[in-house]
């Protein structure tokens, strides 16, 4: 069965390593924070100026001066720090953040990503996404395999305006875990009960499929 959004987040959380600083984008990536594996400590960076972001506040304890990059009220953990936007992006551009997880509208087989604009329809802006994808060593895209119209989001080439080129290394969808290497998607894992055929059918880009593709363990 295909994963739900929480399932995608849970699978991505397995990629976390102890001591990492991690930036989570808006949407499914935010959920990753709920599934940190036991015995591991990571610090979440929010690009509006926090290291050590904690959970949402209890009702009545919201602080309008304390929000995350999604403009949601949040809290901070012990040992947190605040800083300005230039310092925040120094952390990101300077590769001090080990992992970036973000959503996408399209990903191509050479690792291009599009997630900020649909010409003529929707222009919300790139926010910090272009800085994040241009500099992060390790980028995981969390998204659904197809768009609402049923078209594959895993493409030979992106059709929408790009956010970054050749930067995505891994994609986790409700169907599969894919690596991007040598200009192709590589199918690493499939969601429990999802067939390789279904993933092939829903992936427009070129994809390398081994004889045996294990199921995700989540």
């Amino acid at each position: 069965m295909a994963l739900d959004k929480n399932g995608i987040a849970k699978r991505i959380a397995q990629e976390l390593k102890d001591g990492w600083y991690v930036n989570l984008g808006i949407g499914i990536p935010t959920l990753v924070a709920n599934y940190i594996p036991q015995g591991i400590e990571v610090e979440f960076q929010s690009e509006n100026g926090i290291l050590g972001m904690g959970p949402f506040p209890f009702e009545g304890e919201e602080d309008p001066d304390l929000i995350n990059a999604g403009k949601q009220t949040i809290t901070v953990r012990h040992g947190a720090s605040f800083f300005d936007s230039a310092t925040s992006f120094a952390m990101i551009r300077g590769q001090h953040v080990q992992l970036t997880v973000l959503g996408a509208m399209e990903v191509s087989q050479n690792g291009d990503i599009a997630n900020w604009k649909i010409p003529g329809k929707m222009v919300k802006g790139m926010g910090g996404a272009m800085d994040l994808v241009a500099s992060a060593e390790n980028i995981i895209v969390a998204m659904m395999h197809s768009n609402k119209a049923g078209q594959s989001k895993m493409l030979k080439e992106c059709t929408l305006p790009l956010t970054g080129v050749g930067c995505v290394k891994k994609v986790v969808t409700e169907l599969a875990v894919l690596e991007i290497k040598d200009g192709k998607f590589h199918l690493l894992e499939r969601a429990p009960g999802v067939s390789v055929e279904e993933i092939i059918a829903k992936t427009e880009g070129e994809m390398v499929v081994a004889d045996f593709v294990p199921e995700m363990k989540i």
Partner: protein
Amino acid sequence: MNKVVKDPQTALEGIENGMTLMVGGFGLCGIPENSIAQLVKMKVKNLVCISNNAGVDDFGLGLLLQGKQVRKMISSYVGENDEFERQMLSGELEVDLIPQGSLAERCRAGGAGIPAFFTPAGYGTEIAEGKEVRIFNGKPHILESALTADYAIVKAWKGDTEGNLIYKATARNFNPMMAMAGKITIAEVEELVEAGTLDPNQIHTPGIFVQRIFQGQKFEKRIEQRTVRTKQ
């Protein structure tokens, strides 16, 4: 030298039609709301506003958009504002969208006397069009230029009569860089104290960057996305 002014009306004197303004804040967090209200009253038009976001329809910079006071917005993210999207798609409003880190650094550079810098952000995308590309350490970078403003309007938590500023939590965001990049920088603060009261170790923006300072009458501090958890 007296930097303290009594109210936003005095603080914003000199702002005229067509000027470029930097306005601090991230979403509705850390915005100079008293000054924005004053800009609405002044009815200045054709403004170029440099601000990470454009507020929401009825608060923050959204108020200036409603009054069609803004000719051009320079921002990184402008969702959450229907009027903005309408004006942009219809072509009434000129919009320059900039990656958030580049926006922050362009303001910082403007205040720091660095005319331009190379960054990898945006390489290979439409925002790189027409910009010089150079390879450093095997990786392509694009040339981004510094930003300055006729007036920078920032919001701080505490300030003193010398113009030294301390921000609170994530209300800091773009305020420190914008404070550096204004030809004239106006700071509105929640609490204005005598020089010598604030600990010099804790100052975020040194007073040299601030020309006018006033204590805001009231701060609504609207929350954009109120998210909470329930006690178990």
